[in-house]
């Protein structure tokens, strides 16, 4: 017995030794421990000051001359919206120099600790609701000597930024293209083009061309062909990125941001006057939380004493679970939020006050399942229905009608049209609203 026992132990030991196949450099940031795969790291260094470069993103500290090679330096605290740390002038700061597939760059962290070797099997997926850092930038968590390390996916963090830049480039070139004289006269209606577009939008973006959005798609197609011919490119969509570019002008105003004063006032005017005792709002496809929080604030402004409840749901687990802790940057926080104490200051921006958060009820939910909600006064589903297949589209519109109280209002995307007997068009300015009749 004892010999078999020893053998097993030996094997186990061997396995422990063999299993160390992942080394990472660990560092601390705002009192938490993080790790970066050592294969992504060129070197570590201490730097006293960086050369400031004007007109860059807020998290870029400047550039640094590393033995003749100029590399950009990024402050990880600023990038993740963590509170800034006071440092006396002349302190040497710890910098990790990364070698990513396309770029070299340096990141400033609080303190570089050590290199540790672990088994890649011991890395666990990060729980969906996890930390200050967006989960898509975390490749996992690992425990080592009673410390929990969050492993950052640096390729993803910095490549994502690159992507955003590429998109910006695209918008620039498009604006230029529009300024140039039109060389090609595109036909107003092109059925073959439309059919092709319908197929590729469905494949790449899960966007379904139906009566709801067809007129926008046709107009956009004409415009798109001009843009593409100006940059001497084929108009056909070849990948997701191009499909996203095609759809970039589809989205309603203030998608992915808090609504500004004017857009908010337009909703306030849309809502019925008088003293309503209660207001129920259903926000389908609430995404990262900008829409439901905008709705919560404007509802409170409109009805200061009412019992307000916003049902906000989304199919994207990550988005909706991070939505409750939405943080606004200083420049993206409209003044009316601050003036009405709807937000509280954080070192890196603003978060919503508990009184606003309590109005919103976030759910991970598929609207095609059973919707167990009371009758609604307002349903907001901007740019949502177009991403459902045609039969689901009509099913959801019917469901909305069903769930609306008498004279209730349905708001869809500014480029979407609802054709349903029970709805009449109420407003088609920046807001496209329908009323239940």
């Amino acid at each position: 017995m004892s010999s078999t026992g020893e053998k097993i132990e030996e094997q186990a030991n061997e396995e422990v030794v063999k299993k160390i196949d992942f080394k990472m450099v660990t560092f601390s940031l705002a009192d938490k421990e993080y790790g970066i795969d050592i294969m992504k790291i060129k070197e570590i260094s201490k730097v006293e000051k960086f050369t400031y470069v004007p007109n860059t993103q807020h998290f870029v500290r400047g550039v640094h001359n590393l033995r003749g090679e100029i590399i950009s330096i990024i402050d990880l605290r600023k990038m993740f919206h963590l509170p800034e740390k006071e440092k006396p002038a002349g302190t040497l700061e710890d910098v990790i120099i990364l070698k990513l597939s396309e770029i070299r760059l340096g990141v400033v962290v609080d303190k570089i600790n050590q290199v540790i070797g672990i088994s890649s099997e011991s890395i666990q997926p990060a729980p969906p609701i996890f930390s200050d850092i967006n989960i898509k930038y975390i490749s996992g968590v690992v425990e080592y000597n009673d410390n929990l390390y969050i492993i950052l996916d640096v390729e993803r963090i910095f490549m994502d930024e690159e992507e955003t830049d590429k998109q910006k480039l695209f918008i620039d070139s498009r604006e230029k293209a529009e300024e140039e004289p039109e060389e090609v006269e595109a036909p107003a209606h092109d059925d073959a083009g439309l059919e092709f577009m319908t197929d590729s939008l469905r494949t790449f973006s899960h966007f379904f061309v139906t009566a709801m959005n067809e007129s926008w798609v046709m107009d956009r197609l004409v415009e798109w062909k001009k843009i593409r011919s100006a940059i001497k490119a084929d108009f056909q969509l070849k990948n997701e990125e191009e499909a996203d570019q095609f759809l970039s002008s589809f989205y309603s105003p203030y998608t992915g941001m808090i609504w500004d004063k004017e857009y908010k006032d337009a909703y306030i005017n849309l809502l019925p006057g008088g003293n309503k005792p209660s207001l129920n709002v259903w926000n389908i496809g609430c995404g990262k939380g900008y829409e439901p929080f905008s709705l919560a604030c404007l509802s409170r402004l409109k009805y200061p004493k009412a019992r307000i409840k916003i049902w906000a749901n989304d199919k994207d687990l990550l988005d909706v679970s991070n939505a409750t802790r939405l943080v606004l940057t200083k420049q993206n926080t409209p003044k009316y939020l601050i003036d009405n104490n709807f937000v509280r200051p954080l070192p890196s921006g603003y978060e919503f006050a508990a009184e606003v958060k309590d109005l919103v009820f976030f759910e991970y939910h598929d609207v095609l399942s059973n919707n167990t909600i009371p009758l609604m006064d307002l349903i907001v589903a901007r740019d949502v229905f177009s991403f459902f297949d045609p039969s689901s589209q009509s099913k959801i519109i019917e469901e909305c009608w069903d769930k609306l109280a008498e004279s209730g209002i349905l708001v869809v995307g500014s480029n979407e049209y609802v054709e349903f007997d029970g709805f009449k068009l109420l407003e088609s300015g920046p807001i496209r609203a329908y009323q239940k009749v």
Binding site: P127, P128, L317, F361, F362, Y364, N370, T372, P374
Partner: protein, 154 residues
């Protein structure tokens, strides 16, 4: 499913399985299901009642259930006998209880019903007016699906 409910279940399932069954656990993609769904063979049900009501199902094949029960008891079990069933019940109880403890720290109050075990082939489970959250856990010994359906009491 309110987002606040999700993580406590995922976390406690992961922690407890890791502690009792072993290190080799991966969590699959979480998803929602609304229609009727087949169950795998052995199902433990824990009911929840209070501010929020519903139930949690722990669904696995008979083979997986026997393996898990063997590890938890530290002896080789041959079939799904009383001991094996009691063990699976206990596992369900522990995971649910830890999740509920976490939720009550967040201010949600629940009571639990004693777990029930259902075994058999070709069974289906249907929930009315509530959507189920599925958390698949891949163990060395097979798949364990945690199926949570909760709703606010109106």
């Amino acid at each position: 499913m309110r987002v606040e409910y999700i993580n406590p279940f995922v976390e406690s399932a992961f922690n407890i399985l890791k502690e009792l069954v072993g290190d080799n656990i991966t969590r699959g993609e979480i998803f929602l299901k609304a229609s009727s769904q087949p169950v795998l063979g052995v199902t433990a049900i824990v009911g929840l009642t209070g501010d929020v009501e519903g139930r949690v199902l722990f669904d696995m094949s008979t083979k997986t259930a026997i393996s898990i029960a063997s590890i938890m008891n530290g002896e080789e079990l041959k079939e799904l006998d009383e001991l094996a069933k009691a063990t699976i019940t206990e596992l369900a109880n522990m995971i649910t209880a830890q999740a509920v403890t976490k939720l009550s720290e967040l201010g949600f109050k629940f009571d639990l019903t004693p777990p029930t075990i259902i075994t058999g082939n070709k069974m289906e489970i249907t929930d009315f007016e509530v959507e189920a959250l599925i958390v698949p856990m891949e163990l060395e010994h097979g798949k364990l699906e945690i199926n949570v359906a909760l709703r606010e009491r109106n």
